[in-house]
């Protein structure tokens, strides 16, 4: 039986005291316990940024790679070891900005991984520049007279590209977030949970400002209704719709044709290919008619 203590670490936490990232960490730990997963069954993958440090604070396997490159690394891990639950936890700058191309193509591939995007609408570790989700007009430490471009609508993009599970949560509502994370991690295929995670150091608004703009999804929402889901997603950044925006039955996941042929075992455990098979290929190159 996995307990919450199993997921706790004594690694020094570098987040600002009171950072809503702590809420994401707690929600994730609880979700993993609720799913009865043990730490060695999990691999957390991140890029660079404050959010990307989360894997160091949760006992599990960790791949803390380069800025923007968490998704391709996670895809490689998942393909090599399908039974390892691969979860990407990184920031909006990392996954939507530097890694935006990988995000887009992950939607097309539908790998069996979960993306947890800590969205604080800015770059925190580099001290407060705009991120792809900063609302137009908002001043930052770099865009001093206000951001002059529109925010990226990545949840809508995900839904349009058929991502099977798209949700938004709030770092200040840990119980609700835990439930979203549980459902996302259990989902077979690519699942996306964007977490509104206000930055208490560089952000312009207190946490309550965000809380007031939350709009919980109503019970009568049909999560398979793509057009409606896109509509809900596009209310950001004025209204932050929280809950499961879009969920459809799992479709074919990335690598399944290969796995159907080869089985589900980790690539590292496959037996060596028979030497005769390889020698036959070299022999075929001999010209001997």
């Amino acid at each position: 039986m996995t307990r919450i203590e199993d997921y706790r670490h004594d690694v020094e936490n570098q987040w600002c005291p009171g950072c809503p990232n702590f809420g994401v960490l707690t929600a994730l730990q609880r979700a993993l316990v609720a799913l009865r997963l043990a730490p060695h069954e999990i691999c957390l993958v991140s890029g660079i940024g404050q959010a990307a440090k989360l894997p160091h604070y949760l006992r599990a396997n960790v791949f803390n790679g380069l800025h923007g490159r968490a998704i391709p690394a996670a895809i490689g891990i998942q393909i090599a070891h399908p039974s390892l639950k691969t979860i990407v936890t990184s920031g909006d700058g990392d996954l939507y900005g530097e890694g935006g191309n990988h995000f887009l193509h992950a939607l097309r591939r539908n790998p069996d991984i979960t993306l947890v995007v800590h969205n604080n609408q800015l770059y925190a570790l580099t001290k407060g520049q705009a991120s792809p989700t900063t609302p137009r007009g908002e001043p930052t430490r770099l865009q001093i007279r206000g951001v002059e471009v529109d925010p990226a609508q990545m949840l809508a993009t995900a839904i349009v590209h058929g991502c099977g599970f798209v949700a938004r949560g709030f770092a200040g509502e840990i119980d609700e977030l835990e439930s979203l994370l549980q459902r996302a991690i259990a989902y077979r295929g690519l699942s996306l949970v964007e977490v509104i995670q206000p930055c208490i150091t560089w952000g312009h608004h207190p946490i309550d400002w965000y809380r007031q703009r939350l709009e919980p999804i109503k019970n009568d929402h049909d999560p398979t209704d793509r057009a409606r889901a896109v509509d809900l997603a596009l209310r950001a950044p004025d209204k932050l719709v929280v809950g499961v925006l879009y969920e459809i039955p799992s479709r074919t996941t990335f690598g399944s044709s290969f796995r159907n042929r080869i089985g589900e075992m980790p690539l590292a455990e496959l037996p060596d290919i028979e030497r005769a098979i390889l020698e036959e290929r070299l022999a075929r190159m001999a010209v001997n008619l």
């Binding site: 803390n64 391709p72 490689g76 980790p266 098979i277 190159m285 008619l289």
Partner: protein, 558 residues
């Protein structure tokens, strides 16, 4: 036989590769050593390209700049390539555009004969191959057997049409040659393997246990992932990534989870991978990267060849970390280097770069043998049950930490791109951990150096002049050395496959060393100077996009 050089020239999309390949295989079938190389433009249709064949009793696996026979399938190709024809050489054309040149010419209306004898213009290739065989004394039935083998799967009708078209071209050429027709070549018992270096990489990688490749298409590297795709029995997962950054990060993820993984690219794509080469160095994840060189800078000459990325590959990646660079010179060496690349990557937990180029990718070598190195692949992984506690970056004397992979056991594996503790967590302990981790990584490089192999000498122990080569220039150097020795020169060579780290070298002070390189700045000469303090006499450089040939080297000493 007297060694022959044949050019088949035409536009992209005109099938010169098909013609050349059929004739080369016909020679091989008849027991002669044929080598072929292709040069072409970066376009799908049109332009000028040539498929060049060298034939002899013994393999001459090197390019030749001049032709004894030029088969030009269109007037533009004829005009462009006829200056390459040797004195007394033979021109075969379709009959348009020939002038009153003193050189002998044979006119074979390829397309008309194809329609007449094969029933469609597409058989013009078989007509041309037939004409070429007549011009060099290769018996028609040998070519017909090669064509029948190549088209067997397409049905009897197509095999028959090819045979009839080949005969038509053969007969027309033979009748025009008249008394000039060469005597038929006797069959020889010799049998050769006909392979390119890139053909064998997927097979060697599989022998090494490779199970994962992600790559982005880029000439001249694309054939590698394509071969994996075409051969599902190898059981290698392949993915065309959205860009080279994704490709290498997918491969690193797979490798971290225990799969032997690789990627393949050319200079521009490798440039995109550079940050992740550094990541592999820091996270200590094994990876093999094929860097198939082509001329730069930037897009450069996409379909041409060069050896311009040696120092780039050596220095790619911020920060200091060990890596290995292997530059094989032919398909057999490529098999060996590929298997070693995976072994070194795992043994030292480093990136290993295999340097090839367009010449190696697109040239077919006549080989007396092509074999895998003996023994099963070693993975150099640690045994999880033997450990009480696990730290991915445990400090050891050798710098190599026992490697467990993500998800391999109940031991947690923490891999980090930040400077990290032995357990893999972020640290800014500048007094103790940072210096220890730097020394750990560099100690692996020192041990790696001991695993590097010496260059192969050919008379380098006593010759007055020693040519130093690396990678694909081997065949040209061997041929040049033989030619210069025939003229009485005291000359030898030293050829490197292991170009980084350089093994400990003893260069003679009483010899004159020259490097032979496919770049303008003498990159290997610079490397040699920086590592050994030895300054070579000079560099014989080629940087026009064509492969190094013996003529270029010999000219430097004339």
């Amino acid at each position: 036989m007297k060694p022959l050089s044949l050019f088949v020239a035409g536009a992209a999309g005109e099938g010169i590769q098909t013609v050349g390949d059929a004739v080369a295989r016909a020679f091989l079938t008849h027991g002669y050593a044929a080598f072929s190389t292709s040069e072409f433009e970066s376009r799908i249709r049109g332009g000028r390209s040539s498929y060049r064949i060298r034939v002899a009793d013994q393999p001459h696996n090197a390019p030749c700049a001049t032709a004894d026979v030029l088969l030009a399938v269109n007037p533009t190709a004829e005009a462009h390539y006829r200056s390459a024809l040797n004195d007394g050489g033979l021109l075969i054309t379709a009959g348009q555009g020939e002038d009153a040149d003193a050189r002998s010419a044979v006119c074979v209306p390829f397309q008309e004969l194809a329609v007449e004898h094969g029933g469609a213009r597409i058989y013009a290739n078989a007509v041309a191959a037939g004409a070429l065989c007549a011009a060099v004394g290769l018996p028609l039935p040998v070519l017909q057997r090669v064509l029948a083998d190549a088209f067997a799967a397409r049905g009897e009708e197509i095999v028959h049409a090819n045979a009839a078209s080949a005969k038509a071209g053969y007969d027309v050429a033979l009748s025009q040659l008249g008394a000039q027709a060469p005597t038929g070549l006797p069959e020889r018992p010799n049998r050769y393997t006909f392979a390119s270096a890139h053909d064998v990489i997927p097979i060697a990688a599989s022998a090494a246990g490779c199970r994962f490749i992600a790559a982005y298409p880029m000439s001249p590297s694309t054939g590698i992932i394509t071969s994996f795709a075409k051969d599902p029995e190898l059981g290698v997962f392949f993915e065309q990534a959205e860009d080279e950054i994704a490709a290498i990060n997918m491969a690193l993820g797979a490798s971290a989870a225990g799969a032997r993984a690789m990627t393949a690219t050319s200079g521009g794509g490798f440039a995109l991978m550079v940050e992740s080469v550094s990541l592999a160095g820091m996270m200590e994840i094994p990876i093999v990267i094929v860097l198939a060189q082509r001329p730069g800078p930037a897009t450069g000459l996409p379909t041409r060849t060069a050896q311009e990325d040696l120092l780039f590959a050596l220095h790619a990646g911020h920060g200091e970390f060990p890596r290995a660079l292997l530059a094989p010179s032919d398909p057999q060496k490529t098999v060996e280097a590929t298997v070693r690349a995976f072994d070194l990557a795992d043994r030292y937990q480093i990136p290993v770069i295999l340097l090839t180029d367009q010449f190696l990718a697109d040239s077919y070598f006549a080989l007396e043998q092509l074999a895998l190195p003996p023994g099963p692949a070693k993975r150099h992984r640690a045994a999880p049950p033997s450990m009480e506690q696990y730290s991915r970056y445990l400090l050891t004397d050798s710098g190599v930490s026992p490697r467990l992979d993500l998800g391999q056991s109940t031991h947690l594996v923490v891999l980090d791109s930040d400077e990290h503790t032995e357990a893999g967590h972020i640290t800014e302990d500048l007094e103790r951990i940072r210096p220890a981790m730097v020394r750990k990584r560099l100690e692996k490089g020192r041990r790696l150096r001991e695993a590097m192999e010496q260059p192969e000498p050919d008379g380098a122990e006593q010759a007055e002049i020693v040519l130093i080569g690396w990678g694909s220039t081997r065949g040209a150097i061997d041929e040049a050395v033989a030619a210069l020795r025939d003229r009485g020169a005291s000359i030898g060579s030293l050829h490197f496959t292991d170009v980084w780290p350089l093994p400990p070298l003893e260069l003679r002070r009483d010899a004159q060393y020259w490097t032979v390189e496919g770049n303008a700045t003498g990159q290997f000469a610079r490397l040699l100077r920086s590592e050994t303090g030895y300054s070579v006499e000079g560099t014989i450089a080629r940087y026009d996009g064509l492969p190094m040939d013996a003529e270029t080297i010999v000219r430097a000493f004339s």
